[in-house]
């Protein structure tokens, strides 16, 4: 039995698609059961017909629609809505799709501020007043998919681990239930935790955490947060290590920055992290800034431009 799959990418970097490719030889197994009917990165199906003379975006019907990237312009909305119409199940693939991802950091600014900066860098010539009508206008912010259409399956990660991509695709293809890790990154983190103790401030990540010897195993190293450096592990959904379990950043002895988004779909990583730190008596003003605690989950209006002061 084969499953018809349509794949799309919106405001994305293609890392999620590469994660699919990174399933390695399992990709060939997936290709045996998945019948791709639309996928701009892999195949040549066109929105407006193969001869480019259609008027409306058309995507073939499919059982599963995998969408990566957030929603940033009007064409993204159009493509996403067409995917929703044509696919029985919509999978939000990757943190951009589930929570806005890194591009949603732009939600701290208005689109005008963003355009103004991008087209005024020191190397940029003065641009024309405005773009053609054929260039899709930007929305006011970068949105997660579920702010625009109903989403059936959330597969966060920047990018999602190939193991989970494989699991999800297999589950969808065979109709079996999908069990993704539901706790936080700490669940899979082997470092030693003893409590936050007398920690009063946090240091920036300007030096590596302490460990005794280059080959000291990770389960002998003290928790990086307990060493006094911000680690977003406690407020970030587990799973980045795939079936090998160890969180990916920790493998490099680098603190987590939250790429799987909040533990619960509607969580707030900044609020939860600052709260947990403050509860432990850690001075949160020792963090250089806090916007980037939401660097993966700025959609859902978590980040927005500061309100303009009323003109006097």
């Amino acid at each position: 039995m084969t499953v018809k799959v349509a794949q799309e990418w919106l405001n994305s970097c293609s890392g999620c698609e590469i994660a699919i490719v990174d399933m390695g030889e399992r990709l060939l197994d997936i290709l045996a059961v998945a019948d791709f009917v639309h996928s701009p990165v892999l195949m040549d199906h066109k929105y407006l017909g193969q001869l480019g003379n259609g008027k409306h975006i058309h995507i073939p019907e499919a059982d599963v629609g995998i969408v990566s990237g957030g929603v940033r312009n009007e064409e993204h909305v159009e493509v996403l809505e067409e995917m929703r119409r044509k696919c029985k199940i919509i999978v939000a693939h990757g943190t951009c799709a589930t929570h806005g991802g890194i591009p949603a950091l732009a939600n701290s600014y208005t689109s005008e501020e963003m355009l103004q900066r991008v087209y005024s860098t020191e190397t940029t010539d003065a641009p024309a007043a405005s773009f053609d009508e054929d260039v899709p206008p930007l929305l006011d912010a970068c949105y997660a998919l579920d702010e625009k259409v109903k989403v059936d399956v959330y597969l966060p990660g920047c990018p999602p681990h190939p193991d989970h991509v494989f699991e999800a695709l297999t589950a969808l293809a065979t109709g079996s239930p999908l069990n993704l890790p539901g706790r936080s990154v700490c669940d899979h983190c082997p470092t030693v935790r003893e409590g936050k103790g007398q920690l009063k401030t946090l240091r920036r990540f300007l030096q590596s955490p302490h460990y005794k010897a280059p080959d000291e195993p990770l389960d002998k190293m003290r928790c990086i947060l307990e060493q006094g450096m911000l680690c977003m592990g406690p407020v970030t959904r587990a799973g980045c290590g795939g079936s090998k379990i160890v969180p990916r950043c920790i493998t490099a002895r680098v603190p987590c920055r939250g790429c799987y988004g909040p533990v619960k779909q509607n969580g707030n990583q900044r609020l939860d992290m600052l709260n947990a730190l403050a509860s432990n008596g850690i001075d949160i003003s020792s963090l250089p800034e806090t916007v980037s605690l939401l660097r993966f989950s700025g959609a859902h209006h978590q980040l927005r431009p500061p309100r303009k002061k009323q003109e006097a």
Binding site: P103, L105, E289, S292
Partner: protein, 449 residues
């Protein structure tokens, strides 16, 4: 007004673009535009963030070459903070760069470009993809997937993350390389080199000869080139002087810290993407096919053209053969593929050189970093071209300004010219077929945008 043909989206590329071809009443191509449809605004939203976090933010610019963004950003932050990584830290960074190049070129050649050559540009769109290739040639497909995965797994087992990495850190690298890993990686990269040599032989015997006519006609334009070379004029993917070559083959080298004195970016109302051009040539910007102004190309063909030689023996032999056939600078657009495979050999050889260097397992991999006010440009060669990250920081080491010129964007002008040339040669009297449109895309895919 005549018909408009929209190739939307351009497929099997990394990104979001479409082509609009405007025909006149006689069905001849009047003009063509390649639109970049998305804008994310990294240059704006990195402002106010701690500089040491940037390598972990800007790597999200591209999921195919995250290592290059990551490392360029680290180099820029190092400069802002005035720190030099210890030798082992620097070498580990370059090793990651070389391995990720080697993996990327396999991805591009086999997954994105090969369907056009293996299945043929006239085949049906439903089979003209990696799935079709896998079915037509299952043994090769398995080997391709396995080899690419092997390189990728070196990055992943060592640093935890192959896509959107975090192991490069301001001041160096986050962890040292252990001797047992070095041996393991060395064996794997030797295997990778064998596969690279197999691939270029396979391409030279099975693929390119069939398409030599297409190479000489499809999307052919004449431009300058940009790339990075070391002190000997040999190609260097990680560090060195930027070399800007005019279409006639004359060139000048400059320190990438001063890129803004040489390069400019032009803006067109039909695309969110900016068009870099050689401002220093003083001739302005024009995409006119007969008389382009300021236009140069980046990416594999550009690097092979600007380099006097290759720093490793197998790659040097391949370069000599290539140059004998096509001269210097070679202008045929489809030669990007060939150049890519030469670079693939180089990347594998370079990784092996680094892994054979005993210093690479030194445990001192990160220098102490102190935030401070400064400016720094981090420049290296991404698979798709010269990548420039330019930051300024305040006393607290927070980003106050960022300017990014990404590998692919150098080629936006040339891609427009290529499409224009291809469309004019393939669409006559309003006769359009799928094969013609795909050939236009094939020309785009050479740039691997």
């Amino acid at each position: 007004m005549g018909q408009i043909i929209n190739i939307h989206p351009i497929t099997r590329i990394e990104g979001h673009a479409s082509i609009a071809i405007q025909l006149d009443d006689q069905g001849e191509v009047r003009e063509s535009k390649v639109r970049i449809l998305s804008l994310r605004g990294f240059e704006k939203f990195v402002e106010g963030k701690p500089a040491e976090e940037l390598p972990r933010i800007v790597n999200r610019i591209c999921g195919i070459c995250p290592w290059q963004h990551h490392l360029a950003s680290n180099k820029a932050v190092d400069r802002c903070f005035g720190v030099t990584p210890p030798p082992a830290g620097r070498k580990l960074r370059e090793l990651m760069q070389a391995i990720s190049h080697s993996e990327d070129k396999i991805l591009h050649f086999y997954f994105l470009a090969a369907p056009d050559f293996v299945m043929g540009p006239d085949s049906d769109y439903s089979v003209r993809n990696i799935i079709g290739v896998a079915k037509a040639n299952p043994d090769l497909a398995k080997r391709v997937v396995r080899m690419r995965q092997m390189a990728k797994m070196i990055l992943e087992t060592f640093t935890g993350k192959a896509i959107h990495p975090h192991a490069g850190v301001p001041g160096g690298f986050s962890k040292p390389l252990l001797e047992e890993d070095r041996k393991d990686f060395l064996a794997k990269m030797r295997e990778m080199l064998d596969f690279a040599l197999f691939t270029i032989e396979f391409a030279k015997t099975e693929v390119f000869p069939k398409y030599l006519d297409a190479v000489k006609t499809l999307g052919v334009i004449k431009t300058g080139f940009i790339g990075t070379v070391d002190g000997d004029g040999a190609l260097n993917l990680y560090d060195g002087m930027t070399r800007l070559m005019k279409p006639d083959g004359t060139f000048q080298d400059f320190d990438p810290q001063q890129y803004d004195r040489y390069l400019g970016e032009h803006v067109e109302p039909y695309s969110y993407g900016k068009f870099p051009y050689a401002r220093c040539w003083g001739e302005g910007f024009s995409l006119d096919l007969e008389a382009p102004r300021g236009i140069y190309r980046a990416n594999t063909l550009a690097r092979i053209n600007v380099a006097d030689k290759m720093a490793t023996p197998r790659a040097q032999a391949e370069l000599e053969e290539f140059r004998e056939k096509f001269g210097r600078p070679a202008q045929f657009t489809l030669l990007h593929h060939w150049a890519r495979l030469i670079e693939e050999v180089y990347a594998c050889e370079r990784a092996i050189q680094l892994l054979e260097d005993p210093e690479i397992t030194d445990s001192n991999v990160r220098a102490v970093v102190e935030p401070r006010a400064g400016r720094g440009v981090g420049c290296l060669e991404a698979p798709r071209g010269t990548l420039i990250h330019d930051y300024s920081t305040d006393q607290n080491g927070m980003i106050t300004r960022a300017n990014l010129i990404v590998g692919t964007t150098h080629n936006l002008g040339p891609i427009n010219m290529t499409v224009n040339q291809a469309a004019r040669s393939l669409i006559k009297g309003g006769a359009v077929d799928e094969a013609a449109l795909n050939k236009i895309e094939m020309a785009v895919r050479a740039y691997d945008p």
